[in-house]
């Protein structure tokens, strides 16, 4: 499939088994979870979710604080996960590019 899937050669010349496919899910979800935590703390330290209800559009009409925190957290998580997924995909797909246009040695 891609370079990230093939067993990689260690500096010692030893072959190491490929990472399990699900580890990619971890690579996407975990860093974005940490980033979402930081973003939520910073954002909600400055902004009370109830202010969004008072000032915001109709969308937030029935917003209570707990819902505000949860929505904010998941919003940050999804955005960060998109960034993580793009990074993982860009790194993983480099091997494919190499194969269709081999570099000159």
């Amino acid at each position: 499939m891609s370079a990230a899937d093939t067993p990689s050669a260690e500096p010692g010349g030893e072959q190491r088994p490929a990472d399990p496919p699900a580890s990619r899910l971890g690579l996407i979800l975990w860093p974005s979870f940490l980033s979402a935590c930081i973003a939520s703390v910073l954002f909600f330290a400055a902004v009370d979710p109830e202010l969004l209800r008072d000032a915001g559009p109709r969308l937030f009409a029935d917003l209570d604080r707990e819902t505000g925190y949860a929505l904010g957290f998941f919003f940050f998580w999804v955005v960060a996960a998109i960034a993580s997924a793009l990074s993982v995909w860009l790194i993983a797909s480099r091997g494919y590019l190499r194969r269709i246009r081999p570099t000159e040695s």
Partner: protein, 467 residues
């Protein structure tokens, strides 16, 4: 191994890779020894704190409560507001620096003894051993067909895991919602939607992380495992196999001299590999997977004693010591981390000690720049937000300065604000018309009537007609 390769090449005849099946399951062998005892005690103390502190009371309320719905953090006697974010940020920076300091000094002590991933995995493995037996018995059980006995053992393990995970999720959420109310709400089946959701989510995370993902979290997901190398130097405590003493590794009779037979002390018994929770061979050198839990140290020492050889073939040491050089505990890196740590802690301590438990927000009336009153005075209106951060009620006196003949028309008396609440007051300031032309900078001072140390100043503007 074969399954891993198959899954990696994506060949069609290999079974579809299930969630964590592609990595070979590790059955860490049980071990006893001094470092194992230290870890077991650390686990008991840390988990005891986690499960226990949530129930501690302080002055009639929960001692440690990050009350998100009310936007207030209670840390024993201290109440922090969103405005006090500075303290929380400083506290987190200090915690991170402490981790750097300890890492530079003693390597991955955090990973081996204190990381929640290690701590909960350890307890989940205790449960696993109790229900399914030793690592050999577990391997055999996994291979055996489903029988009533297997169902009982596996089912019992899952049940205990789920109970522990649920209690963990409940306790965790109990640090953000008052835990006693949370408990009685669960008892009466009146628990709110979000609280239920977070409890289930954190329970599931505990169950998945400690029951199934285990060492894979450290290997694939943990950023600290990767960047700790930046804090390592040649004097950092690491776990290392003594090549010179151990090689050439070979089996020999108990009590026989390795040197006399031209062999190294390592008898290649593989115990250090079998006890490793991340499944590595420490004899291949320092690897990023090593969480420095010292299980291999305990295992090897045990064997060496049985072989009649001194312990320490695998041991805590430093790169300098391995190369026969002196190890320096005191070194520039320690001074730098230490100095930053001391400065941070001093700033935090000083600012907390001198923190004024009062905040004044002044907002000018948006409707009118100014107003003429009594025919000969100009009046400006303000909205004052008085936040009493103290744990007792206060009455505050308002004073103004910065413009001659500036008078307070309202509020007429003291401003009373109960403990830990926000008071909103309309203030009206007046100046004779002939003195009020143009824009003036003025200062509002708010001071507690009963305590002169509680006082804040806030600058604003007084606007009169154009000259």
């Amino acid at each position: 191994m074969k399954a891993t390769r198959n899954a990696a090449s994506g060949s069609s005849e290999s079974p579809a890779p299930s969630f964590y099946a592609a990595a070979a399951k590790i059955y860490p062998r049980e071990i006893s020894g001094r470092f194992t005892r230290i870890r077991q005690r650390t686990v008991v103390v840390l988990l005891g704190l986690f499960y226990g502190v949530a129930w501690l009371q302080w002055n009639g309320r929960q001692a440690l409560l990050f009350d998100l719905p009310a936007r207030k953090f209670y840390i024993f006697g201290l109440t922090l507001w969103p405005q006090d974010f500075f303290y929380m940020a400083l506290l987190m920076i200090i915690a991170a620096l402490t981790l750097f300091f300890v890492t530079a000094l003693a390597g991955r002590l955090w990973c081996g003894y204190a990381c929640p991933q290690t701590v909960w995995t350890e307890v989940f493995i205790w449960i696993e051993r109790w229900t399914e037996g030793s690592s050999l018995q577990r391997m055999k059980l996994d291979r055996s067909p489903w029988t009533g006995r297997k169902l009982l053992r596996k089912g019992g393990k899952q049940l205990l895991w789920l109970l522990l995970a649920a209690w963990t999720g409940f306790t965790f959420v109990g640090y953000f919602n008052p835990i006693r109310e949370l408990g009685s709400e669960i008892g009466h089946l009146t628990l709110g939607g979000w609280a239920s959701f977070w409890i289930v989510l954190y329970s599931a995370a505990t169950y998945g992380n400690a029951g199934f993902m285990r060492e894979q979290v450290c290997k694939y997901m943990c950023p600290y495992a990767r960047f700790q190398s930046a804090m390592f130097d040649k004097d950092t405590l690491i776990i290392s196999y003594n090549d010179n003493r151990g090689e050439p590794r070979a089996a020999r009779r108990r009590g026989s001299s390795a040197a006399a037979q031209g062999k190294g002390d390592c008898i290649d018994c593989q115990l250090c590999v079998q006890v490793c929770p991340t499944g590595i061979d420490i004899r291949k050198g320092l690897q990023y997977e090593c969480i420095a839990c010292a299980a291999c140290v305990d295992a090897c020492d045990d064997i060496m004693v049985k072989m009649g050889a001194p312990g320490g073939l695998i041991r805590y040491t430093t790169e300098n010591a391995v190369q026969g050089k002196a190890t320096h505990i005191v070194r520039p890196r320690m001074f730098v981390y230490g100095a930053i740590l001391v400065i941070g802690a001093t700033i935090l301590g000083y600012s907390l000690a001198t923190r004024t438990p009062l905040i004044l927000d002044v907002i000018r009336d948006r409707n009118a720049l100014y107003r003429e009153v009594h025919g000969d005075h100009i009046e400006n209106a303000y909205s004052l937000k008085v936040i009493n951060l103290d744990s007792k009620p206060h009455s505050y006196r308002l004073q103004v300065s910065g413009l001659d003949a500036l008078e307070i028309a309202a509020p007429s008396g003291l401003i009373d604000v109960p403990a830990g609440t926000v008071g909103t007051v309309s203030a009206r300031l007046q100046v004779p018309s002939d003195l009020a032309t143009g824009v003036h900078k003025i200062t509002l001072t708010l001071a507690a009537a009963d305590d002169a140390r509680i006082a804040v100043r806030e600058k604003t503007r007084f606007i009169g007609p154009r000259p």
